[in-house]
Structures are given as C-alpha cells and as structure tokens.
Symmetry: C2
DNA sequence: TTTGTATTTATGTATAGACATAATCGCAAA
DNA sequence: TTTGCGATTATGTCTATACATAAATACAAA
C-alpha cells in the first residue's frame, strides 16, 4: 500500500493528464476529497498545494481549484558549470580570457537588461577549453553597480561564471536558446568550419530586481547539447 | 507581519544564497528551528520539504538536512504546443503529414527508448506551418504497444503532438537540445538555405515506465528560440 | 576483524482541530 | 440600476500530537 498522499496525487494527475479533467475543470473541493479518501484536510491540502506550486492546478479562495491552462510545457534543462563538471569527470579544463574592458552598456543590452543606458559594465570574452578542445566561447557583461568587486578580480583561478556563482546571490534568471551559423571569427576561436551550426545560450540573472550579469555562451553544435529531464510530479 | 512560513523560508534562502551556509553545510534540525522560531514542527517541516523539492537542500533521515550541492544549474524552458500557441495568438496554423508508416524500431532508437528491438512503432513526419511559413519539421515515433489507438487515428484535426498530449497521460520526459546544419532535404522542407543552423529538440516521454513517444523537432535557427525563466525559490 | 542486531535519532506521513483571509454571493439601500 | 455591506465559503496557515521509517551508531557475537 502506497502512501495516501501519493495516491491522491497520482489520481489527480492521471485525471488531468488523461484529459478527463480538462483545463478549466473544477477539481473537487478539499472537503469533498477529504470525504472521498477518508483523510484529514491537511493531507488533501498539502497535495493540492504541491500541485499548485508545480503549475498543474490553480487555486483561488472561495472560487475553488481548477485545472490550470496548459500554458507552455516546461522542461527543466541542465546547464553545466564548466569547471565543476570537468572536475567531477576528471577532465582537464582550462579557460582563457581573450578580452577585458569596462564600457558603458549599449542601447540594445540596456533594453534587454532593464538598466539605464550608459551604466558601466565589465565586459569579458572567455574561451573554455576541455582536453585541449575549445568547448564554448563566452561573452559576458557584469554589472559593476551590483558586483563592484568584479572590477579588481583577475579571474585567474575560476572563470567568470563560476566566480559569480560562488560570490553573488541571485534570485532570477532568464534563458534563451538559439541556433546560429558560426561566422569567421567564431569559427576560428572554436576551431570549427565557418558556417557550422552553434548552440547559443543566453542567460541573464538578477538579484532581487538588480541586474547581475548577462552571459552569451556559444557551443559548437556537433560537440554539445543540452539535456534535461522533467517529471510533472517532481 | 509576514507569515512565519515565509519568514523561515526567506531566512534559510538568504543564508544559502549569500554563501553563509555553503553547499554541504548542515542546516539546523527541525527540532532546533522549531525552538528558534517558536513554532510547531509541522511548520518547519513544510518549509524544509518545499526547499528540498526545489533542490536547494538535501534531506536524509537520521543524518539531517544539508545545503544541496549546486549540481547543475537548472533552467525551466518553455516549449510550445503549435496548435495551442497559434490559436492563442490568432495566427493561422496548418500542418501536413508528409510520411506515415508502421515499422519495427531500429537498434539506435531501441537503445534510446529502452524498448526491445523490433517493437512496432508508428512513424510520422509532419511539417508545421504558421502564416504560410514552415516553422518546424517533426519526426515522431509512437509506441503502438502503449498507444494502440494511434494506429487508426487519421490526424486530420490535431497534429500528433497535440493529439497525444490530450489522450495519453505521461509522467516523465527527457529533452535534448542541439544545433545542426540543415541538409538538403531539410532545407527544402523548411524553405531555408542548405547548411543553415537549426535548433533540434528531441523529446521522449514515458508513462509509468512505459515508453510513449519520441519527437524530433527541427526549427529554423533564425525563426525560433526557446525562452525560459527560472527562480530558485518558485 | 567482521558481521549481525538493537537502539537512537531525524525525517516522513498523517490526524483533528483552530483561526485567518480573500473572494463571491445575496440582499438592502441609494 | 447601481452601490455598498454583511454573510458565506474555500483556501491559507498553524498547532500539538502520533506513529512510521530509514539510517547512523554502538554494542555484542561469530
């Protein structure tokens, strides 16, 4: 016999995912489920709260609980930290800062990040190399207003991403994944053919509303992929 | 005065994200937090359970609770359902089944899906068109052992993905995102230049361990991107 | 030393009740 | 008809308690 908690949850998920309870359908009240399963309200409540947190259902006081609109399917993709992954796998990892400067943010980037045009940003270009093979090229902007100590950091030990991850708390991130053809300079840096398909991952992170950093990572398409696993229940 | 629940949660998250409690650091026992905040164990327990579900902490019986290793950063990417998105945006959407057959699964696919080689699969190739522009090419395998009714479905109303989503409950999915150069036939189908970068999304779904379907979606790189938002707390 | 077993301990699940709160509904007053 | 207000109702949060369970620990037997 499984846990009641799990049984209630499985039942509801099955009904939603089979389409028996379509989006917008009102789910039985806690009171009703409580009678149906012969358990306390807390048990039902915890299940429904969890499902709501996972976006499967929408709850509103007085109105009750309904199956959520299948907004967009969500997939959890894992995005690796080069240094960490390399260390774990026992692979030789190096990185090289190819460019470093402090510049006022341009108009397009200001738009993306929500900063005032002209804000001073630390601009870094980094090549990530594993086992002697270029794995990714990283173009990064760091907001010096939020992370002033980045100015004096030489980035000798850790690459900028790892350094930031350890030092700056962040609360929100936005990701964009695209595919592009490598132009000449990019092809040269990554040692691939000009025009080869590359996976581009852009990540912007904020900390309590304050912009922290933007990273654009370009991976050779034939050497890399993003992998993710997703359970609606997890 | 905020809810106690939220306060405890904020405190713990702040300590973790500021680095004060580094990965591996043991968090006070429920018993201790209960005394510290002057509340019941259930309250503390719910907070910690939620944080554990979000991957911020790791809990083990008897051993206690520790700050989770920042394994891989996880990003929640949104993956759209063509028909649904088009309907919402008021865009004209069509799809065309270019190929349909029933074939025993090949060795490579058997490996990926965990099925026995030779299992009968419904193979479909579909072109998705929005506003007259090819948006994606879909190659899909459907496990007839799990979804026998797919055999007789003509897929006139809904494209295979939408049809399956409505009909088959699924519990697990695996995603892979890659970038590839379009070969000749693909370029022709998508009306792009041969060699143009394409985003390839592979999705495999299971239902309680039974394989349901595999979809490989190829998007022109210049027409599409995946977007995602992520908060560690949400 | 190794293996097996009992104990302890922290978390996991569940209960039955309490009060708070937000949103809706119905009714009455303007 | 519209506005305002009180009653109702479903969810939100929390308590105090109970027993289950997994895992570390200590101790005893082989």
């Amino acid at each position: 016999m499984k846990h009641l908690h799990q049984r209630i949850r499985d039942d509801i998920e099955a009904k939603i995912m089979s389409g028996e309870w379509a989006p917008g359908h009102r789910i039985p009240f806690e009171h009703e489920l409580m009678t149906e399963y012969g358990c306390s309200r807390m048990t039902v409540n915890k299940v429904l709260s969890t499902l709501a947190a996972n976006g499967l259902i929408t709850r509103r006081r007085r109105a009750g609980t309904v199956v959520a609109e299948p907004s967009n399917q969500q997939a959890v993709l894992q995005i690796q930290d080069f240094a960490l992954e390399a260390a774990r796998a026992g692979i030789e990892y190096r990185f090289k800062i190819l460019h470093r400067s402090i510049e006022p943010i341009d108009a397009a980037a200001a738009q993306r990040t929500g900063l005032k045009p002209g804000t001073e940003m630390l601009c870094l270009s980094t090549l990530h190399v594993m086992d002697g093979v270029p794995l990714a090229f990283e173009q990064r902007l760091i907001n010096l207003a939020t992370v002033p100590e980045a100015d004096k950091e030489p980035f000798k030990e850790d690459p900028p991403g790892t350094w930031l991850l350890r030092r700056v708390p962040w609360t929100d991130a936005e990701h964009i994944v695209r595919a592009v053809n490598a132009d000449g300079p990019m092809a040269k840096r990554l040692q691939i053919q000009s025009g080869a398909a590359c996976l581009v991952l852009e990540r912007r992170t904020w900390q309590a509303g304050a912009f922290v950093t933007e990273a654009r990572l370009t991976y050779p398409g034939d050497r890399h992929q993003l992998v993710g696993r997703f359970s609606p229940t997890a």
